[in-house]
């Protein structure tokens, strides 16, 4: 019997358990994504629909009004700009500096290499809670509170990035490096014209990590920004929500949440495979 069904044409090879698993997966999947689905649909509802009971998932009349309010009444445009500058700077710096340090640890030979590498890896164990008060005091003392400098400075380097990229650089045959040296190619040129193009995949995966974790930062931007103009999206939406107690609508808040999610969601949908592989390989969220 089993042999016969296996030989049947593709279209007929449908077992009950296949349908059951598919149904179960779509049900669970929708349930898990439900908070996001609700936020997206709520952001298109008119004020009266938002607070009707019983609550419905889909809007009856679609409106963009909530986005207009979020954009104009609350400076979500400005928040988006701040988040972009903050995350962009952090990602660029982390990639650049991690590539350089990973090169030194993987390719170059120098006294103290192992000790320094363990020191860098060891820093991964230090929880942010231990250092954020001194960092806050330092940034404030330098007069960088409420500036882009203050938002980005403590996050320009990444021990995780150094570790990840070093692992990859080690897999590139050393012969490449020797050959380049014989041809008179210095380290700097070899790194950027040979090694980096060879490692595009790993560097890309790390850049995605760096971007997402910077974009989603909360505690640091919360304490280091004080003016509305310097808030990132995450902080902007937090303060926007606190106006709800004074009678504001949930619709624009949800529009703000969707604006905050969209860039990360776009990255996720475009680079799902790399992101998932990166997380699975490193066991870290970046």
């Amino acid at each position: 019997m089993a042999v016969q069904t296996r030989k049947a044409p593709r279209g007929f090879h449908i077992r009950f358990s296949d349908i059951a698993v598919n149904l179960l997966l779509i049900l669970i999947g929708v349930a898990i994504a439900m908070p996001i689905i609700i936020a997206i649909f709520t952001s298109f509802k008119t004020p009266s629909q938002v607070i009707t009971f019983p609550p419905s998932v889909l809007p009856k009349d679609w409106t963009l009004q909530n986005y207009v309010v979020a954009w104009n009444v609350n400076p979500f445009g400005r928040f988006l700009l701040n988040s972009t500058i903050q995350s962009g700077l952090i990602t660029l710096a982390q990639v650049l500096f991690s590539v350089m340090a990973a090169y030194a640890f993987a390719i170059l030979e120098f006294p103290g290499r192992n000790a320094l590498f363990y020191l860098v890896i060891g820093s991964l164990m230090v929880p942010f809670e231990l250092v954020f008060i001194p960092n806050y005091q330092l940034i404030s003392a330098l007069g960088w509170g409420d500036t882009y400098m203050g938002l980005t400075m403590p996050f320009l380097v990444s021990a995780f990035g150094v570790f990840l990229l070093r692992q990859f650089f080690l897999t590139v045959p050393k012969d490449f490096h020797d050959a380049a040296r014989i041809d008179g190619c210095g380290n700097w040129r070899y790194l950027w014209t040979v090694l980096v193009p060879l490692s595009k995949g790993s560097i890309g995966a790390f850049a995605i990590f760096a971007f997402l974790s910077a974009w989603n930062q909360y505690l640091w931007p919360l304490i280091i920004t004080s003016s509305v103009e310097m808030r990132t999206l995450q902080i902007g939406i937090r303060y926007f929500m606190s106006t709800l107690d004074r009678g504001a609508d949930w619709g624009p808040v949800m529009a703000g949440a969707v604006i905050a999610i969209l860039p990360a969601l776009a990255v996720f949908l475009i680079a799902q495979k790399q992101l998932v592989r990166g997380i699975a390989m490193s066991g870290l969220k970046g």
Binding site: I26, S123, L124, N135, N216, A280
Partner: protein, 316 residues
């Protein structure tokens, strides 16, 4: 650069030799400089500054500090309020971690089933919380927990779990439910990451084990019980450690959903550090002492993780 100096015909032999030795080292340190300086200023030095702060009482709104030795630690360890934050933190960890991992493993096993073309779609739906920030998670769940038009209570009533909306829990307003509410939100955000790790673990199990079991007539549940779970144990252990660490550090959801309240019902250790250092009258010495106690707990978890990492290599 190094090459060209070697070719210089006028260079004295000794300087050439010295440069040959010095330059590679110097060059390496130049490559490392940004990373090392960054870590030094924002990680390594603050470890000491933080400890020094924890030994001082810092007058609020002034720069007057007074050395008080271990007073801050004594104050904490003899304060019922502080022990309450420790208790709440452990409840929070107990609420988020075991259910989160169990759910992630169940989903990973389901996702490893060959479902064909729709696989990417199911995965996208189940993985997606991994890219959502703690702040947005807080906002999304605050809406779901809405006391009047909240979806969660409404659906629970529909499912017959509660008789009507009045009987449904006052998620964020009651001391009993507030902790459950932040646990659900945090576990939700953590789920995407957990499923990704669990799925990688499940997919690394060699097919031949299952084939052998099938030949022996083992059913699906027996295969999960006797093959998947035992071979997944390194992954499960990793998930346990990393989830405990993340839960210890959860902040955004609490800040947005409950701000540690009602009362102090959701004031975890991390939340207490933030509150002590930045809300009302800042007491940064006392907050640093709390940060040190928390750090010791988190670092010991990380240490266990690093120490056992080599044993996982086969499966990851």
């Amino acid at each position: 650069m190094a090459q060209s100096t070697l070719d210089g015909p006028t260079a004295a032999r000794s300087t050439v030799k010295a440069r040959k030795r010095v330059w590679p080292t110097l060059e390496a340190y130049l490559y490392l400089a940004p990373t090392l300086i960054g870590l030094l200023i924002f990680v390594f030095i603050p470890i000491f500054t933080s400890f020094q702060l924890s030994l001082n009482r810092i007058a609020p709104f002034g720069n007057q500090t007074r050395f008080v030795g271990l007073d801050n630690y004594v104050t904490l360890l003899t304060s019922a309020d502080y022990w309450d934050t420790v208790r709440i933190t452990f409840l929070f960890v107990l609420g988020t971690v075991p259910t989160g991992i169990a759910l992630a493993v169940a989903l990973a096993i389901l996702l490893s089933y060959p479902v064909g073309r729709m696989a990417w779609f199911y995965r996208a739906l189940i993985f997606v919380p991994v890219i959502i920030s703690s702040a947005v998670t807080g906002v999304l769940f605050r809406w779901l927990y809405h006391p009047v038009v909240g979806y969660l209570s409404y659906w629970m009533v529909q499912l017959g779990i509660f008789e009507n909306m009045q009987q449904a829990p006052n998620w964020l307003g009651s001391k009993e439910w507030a902790l459950v509410a932040v646990i659900i939100a945090t576990a939700w955000r953590q789920l995407g990451f957990n499923v990704i790790i669990a799925l990688a673990g499940v997919q690394n199990i060699d097919e031949s084990f299952y084939d052998a079991a099938k030949v022996d007539g083992a059913g699906i549940l027996q295969r999960i019980r006797h093959i998947t779970l035992p071979l997944l144990s390194p992954t499960l252990f990793f998930l346990l450690v990393i989830n405990v660490i993340y839960s210890f550090q959860a902040f955004g959801e609490i800040n947005i959903l409950t701000q540690g309240g009602p009362g102090r019902a959701t004031t975890t250790m991390v939340y207490s550090i933030f509150e002590t250092a930045f809300v009302g009258t800042p007491q940064r010495g006392l907050a640093s002492a709390q940060a040190y106690i928390l750090a010791v707990m988190v670092i010991s978890m990380s240490f266990i993780n690093f120490a056992t990492a080599s044993r996982r290599v086969h499966y990851q």
